[in-house]
């Protein structure tokens, strides 16, 4: 039926696209990346987070090569040392090297942050996608469940869970995610509802595509930008939540260090060893700031006004 065609009988209006043929095909992701690259502050923030993450992953390396200390090594002869040549950022009340603990603590804090975001996004997206796509009673049931979860005061949940399960980094991440996924679900559902209205979804239905194809090949890629932005902002939020939990004694327990519990721990020593407070505080501040800046930069890069 569709056989060789007589080219002469067809018009071939390709003039504008002909001239664009020199450039490689510009996908939406390429274009967004270009836009991000032209945002120096945003890029710097992203790079900073990346650097912290790399350092955190390579903590044992840094311990061995840079600081020559372990995070738990106690040295009662060297307590409350100010920043110096041996202990670059000083020591705490048990003579443990602050820089080392900061690096290992970063592992814990950033690890929890990324893990929590990962879990919340996965669960939240599944719920939100199903609710938004199917609508009807499925939407009602799922969203009422989400509403219920969101109505539970987070603090009570944290206290309860912390008493029942003495949290390590992974279970803490799960606990925090269990409270946060509801918002992701709402966000994804809203985005799915909005993308669902667009003609290309109806067009894909009209060619007979099934539900899974619709959700994974069409809805998810179009919802992804929102998720990426939420993830980036989420990292900063989780760091603060973790620090708050540590402050309440519900989070990571010593001797494992996290930025939050280092900060809490240093509270009583502020008057004579203020650097014990400054360093973890600065790390938290800088990382949260970077995550916010990067999150906003990504949002601008994906700007739907520029989407065609």
């Amino acid at each position: 039926m569709i056989g060789p065609s007589r080219v002469a009988e067809l018009d071939m209006p390709g003039a504008a696209v002909e001239t664009a043929a020199g450039r490689p095909a510009q996908s939406y992701w390429n274009e967004s990346w270009e836009r991000l690259r032209h945002n120096p502050i945003g890029m710097a923030a992203g790079v900073l987070i990346l650097i912290f993450a790399v350092i955190a992953i390579l903590a044992p390396l840094f311990s061995a090569v840079l600081t020559h200390f372990q995070p738990q090594s106690i040295d009662l002869a060297a307590t409350f040392r100010p920043p110096g040549s041996t202990h670059m950022l000083g020591t705490d009340e048990l003579g443990r090297d602050t820089l080392t603990r900061l690096i290992w603590g970063g592992r814990v804090t950033l690890g929890i942050a990324f893990l929590t975001v990962g879990m919340a996004l996965t669960v939240g997206t599944t719920f939100g996608m199903a609710a938004g796509y199917y609508g009807g009673w499925i939407d009602d049931v799922l969203m009422r469940f989400v509403d219920t979860v969101l109505a539970i005061p987070a603090i009570f949940l944290f206290i309860l869970m912390s008493i029942l399960i003495h949290p390590n980094a992974i279970s803490l991440a799960a606990i925090i995610a269990s409270v946060g996924w509801g918002n992701v679900a709402r966000l994804v559902r809203g985005e799915v509802l909005s993308v669902k209205q667009r003609d290309f979804i109806l067009a894909t239905r009209s060619i007979g595509a099934r539900d899974f194809r619709m959700m994974f090949r069409h809805l998810l890629p179009n919802v992804l930008p929102v998720l990426i932005v939420a993830a980036s902002l989420g990292v900063g939020q989780i760091i603060l939540i973790e620090a708050a939990l540590d402050f309440l004694g519900l989070g990571i327990q010593p001797p494992t260090s996290s930025w939050g519990n280092m900060l809490t721990n240093a509270e009583s020593y502020f008057y004579h060893s203020a650097w014990l407070v400054y360093f973890p505080g600065i790390m938290i501040f800088v990382t949260v700031l970077a995550s916010n800046i990067f999150g906003n930069a990504i949002r601008d890069a994906f700007d739907p006004r520029l989407k065609t």
């Binding site: 039926m1 569709i2 696209v17 667009r198 067009a203 894909t204 179009n222």
Partner: protein, 344 residues
Amino acid sequence: MSSRGPLEPAVKTLTRAWTSADPLLSITDLKVWFPVASGVLQRTVGHVHAVDGVDLEIKTGETLGLVGESGCGKSTLGRTAIRLITPTAGKIVFKGQDITNLRGSKLRELRRDVAMIFQDPYASLDPRQTVGDIVGEPIDVHGLAKGKARQDRIQELLRVVGLNPRFVDRYPHEFSGGQRQRIGIARALAVEPSFIVCDEPISALDVSIQAQIINLLERLQSKFNLTYLFIAHDLSVVKHISNRIAVMYLGKIMEMSPGTQLYKRPRHPYTGSLLSAIPIPDPVVEMRRERTIIQGDVASPVNPPSGCRFRTRCPRAKEHCAEEVPPLESFGDEHLAACFYPLD
């Protein structure tokens, strides 16, 4: 490339064998109502009578034009005709098979024989997919071809609609509106359908491009033996491309007739005022025209007027028009109109 010939039905027939002499699509008393929810508990307080009792037949190989203003239900009718929407009541028969309540795999089989072209060339293509993926998707969904055969087919489709096959890896936003519409047409042709619903395919395009697309659609129709339901609000375009035209208002058909007849001798007052309102690009003609400008706005499809829908704006309305719904009557020569006091 496909094992099916052009006229072999893709859907199995249950009654006597359908042939191309029979109507391709037969719609009987079709109603599509959408619930209106209101209040805290989202109770259904009423219905939008989008399509409210429509009978029509589309012959194999013809182009049936469907015109009407916003809210008349033409888009809903078009989408329901190919079962993108499930009707509230009535019957749809396609190639002899009742498709009114088709579901699941049988519905998917239908999708191999019907297709739709959309109005907005910007919204009807997934911005995250390449042109090749967009045009190839129907092929993938139905498993019609793989590998090299699939590539060849995609390239052929692009050529047929007048696009350079080199651009399979490009993204929609790199093309102009007219080119994107061609991509949409290529996608519609991918399954080798016999019936295509064109939902305002040129309204969003520049005037100088509209003619290109109209010509393309006509060429494709004769080349692939297609039947079109052509939905638009621009009667000039519809009259040009259609064999017969149906005029809709608030969910019902007011008049149906071959194009030239409709223009020369409209019977329904609504058709008359519609024709009178359309500007003609000729100042001499425009100056001479008698205008019947009807007042008021279109009534609400949630609460349509009793009897004849058009009576609230009709200069010829009498008491009887509020009491009874005028049936579609024949005025000879395939010309039908639903009016108790038609124009002469």
